[in-house]
Symmetry: C2
């Protein structure tokens, strides 16, 4: 666990350096939107998605330098989704990562633009001629990321989540929502490096299975934290699902069943990546997500 | 002018067919966001940007089939920007293209997601393996479009526009806003086909000059219409700039000077593309924008 925490801190620091480079502040009135992008993107969060990209990429023998553009772009997309999710018309959340949400710190209009701009910047970053990999691979990654981030991925999950605030969901709808809303980008982060590696099918299958488990595990522990977590630790408003009477795994099956399912998902995630050796960082991360308090 | 109107109608019809194919309605709860995307993207608007892509592309000898993915993606990005622009936190406009704005027809949260999804889908479309052009060209187009649509382009212009609602702009800030907000995507639509053509530098320079003029001309006639147009024809709320006491070219120099500048821009646009022969569709379009009533 110490190794994992050190690794996460190292990745966060490196990520911030690269985000800082990718988002320079211009000397004109457009500076305001860049400042809003930087406010939410730099320095906050656990950098889980970059961690998965860097870690699976290294396990597959990909050069670290080739992995960073994917990590930076993905973090931009994750950040945009948080900014838009927090808007009054969406989750209406004024607290994120322990500080005021983007639209509180700036204003709603700027937050909408900052989100749009981070999403746009992600694709600018992935298509950059400065990234020294084959254009064919760039196109495959852009195609993959836009699928995982779009209506068949994250946005689709957000749509179902919104509908779930107004009507109760069936179990299969709930599962689809979980798989898409948080799961999609986490899955992408575990499998994207395969595009850059001459990846044998055993390893790729292992990573896909791990990715699915991690996506579901993360959503499950998110629901558990919403019910039982400490706001000061988690850094966002909690207890909202119950207040909004949303269908969650917990509302359907209770807290104990959710905890048990989370444990099973962690076990399956760990087993999936046994092919990369015992005590690898991916197993450690599955455990970290299971027991996380934030 | 008859040729131009026929051409615009043909392009609109073809564009709708392709948008319809690109946005199939799934048989699950995510359908709602796709319906919102389709509501704003299909059937509305003059399809100016697709017109420029198709027309300049043909003048450069590019196969029409290769041009459509750019036209469809660009229209998706233009549409997302209108959806987000109409939101209560932005322009708060309930009328667009003569029908209720997206957030009125659906709701604010769905409109935010539909905009995000159209932006994401644009890059999925451009990176599609079904588009039979070199990956190197795809990457160049994705890079170009994300620049023109981002903080150095359209979003930057929107940011300056928002700031202009709260403080008066200098002439150079106003010009930057005009160049970016509407100008950027129009410019892109005139020059993007150069990536697919073995374009000689005389033609490329001509198109760039034309593109700049068209971007400014369109913004200028937009400001004039906001002041003098008929709402029923234009299909959106008018008179808003004056009400909001925004700095526009008209507030700085008056209506007559704006009309004169528009005429000069049209003349320069027409001169720029004389290299493609007299009475070409690009000259006709410059004139059409000058005298437009909607």
């Amino acid at each position: 666990m110490t190794d994992l925490k050190t690794e996460l801190a190292t990745i966060r620091a490196q990520l911030d350096l690269r985000l800082n480079q990718a988002l320079p502040i211009p000397n004109d009135l457009t500076a305001r939107v860049i400042e809003a992008m930087r406010y939410s993107a730099i320095g906050g969060g656990k950098a889980l998605r970059p961690f998965f990209i860097l870690t699976t990429g290294r396990l597959l023998g990909v050069k670290e330098e080739d992995l960073w553009p994917i990590a930076v772009s993905l973090e931009m997309i994750h950040t945009y989704s948080l900014i838009h999710d927090d808007l009054p018309a969406m989750d209406n959340d004024s607290l994120r990562r322990g500080k005021p949400s983007n639209h509180i710190q700036f204003d709603e209009a700027t937050a909408i633009l900052a989100g749009d701009a981070l999403l746009t910047k992600a694709f600018e970053h992935l298509s950059s001629p400065n990234w020294q990999i084959d254009d064919e691979k760039k196109c495959r990654l852009i195609s993959l990321l836009s699928c995982y981030a779009g209506t068949q991925g994250m946005i689709g999950g957000q749509m179902i989540d919104l509908i779930g605030e107004k009507q109760s969901l069936t179990l299969s709808e709930l599962k689809q929502m979980q798989r898409l809303k948080t799961g999609a980008l986490l899955e992408f982060s575990c499998i994207a490096p395969c595009v850059l590696a001459s990846c044998d099918s055993i390893k790729e299958t292992a990573l896909r299975r791990y990715a699915t488990c991690i996506g579901l595990l993360f959503q499950m522990t998110d629901d558990i934290l919403d019910e039982t977590g400490q706001e000061a630790l988690v850094g966002k408003t909690l207890g909202k699902d119950r207040k909004a009477k949303k269908t969650t795994f917990i509302s359907l099956f209770g807290l104990e069943k959710a905890r048990e399912t989370a444990r099973q998902l962690e076990e399956e995630a760990v087993q999936s990546v046994a092919v990369f050796g015992e005590n690898n960082l991916l197993s450690a991360m599955a455990h970290y997500i299971l027991i996380r308090e934030k």
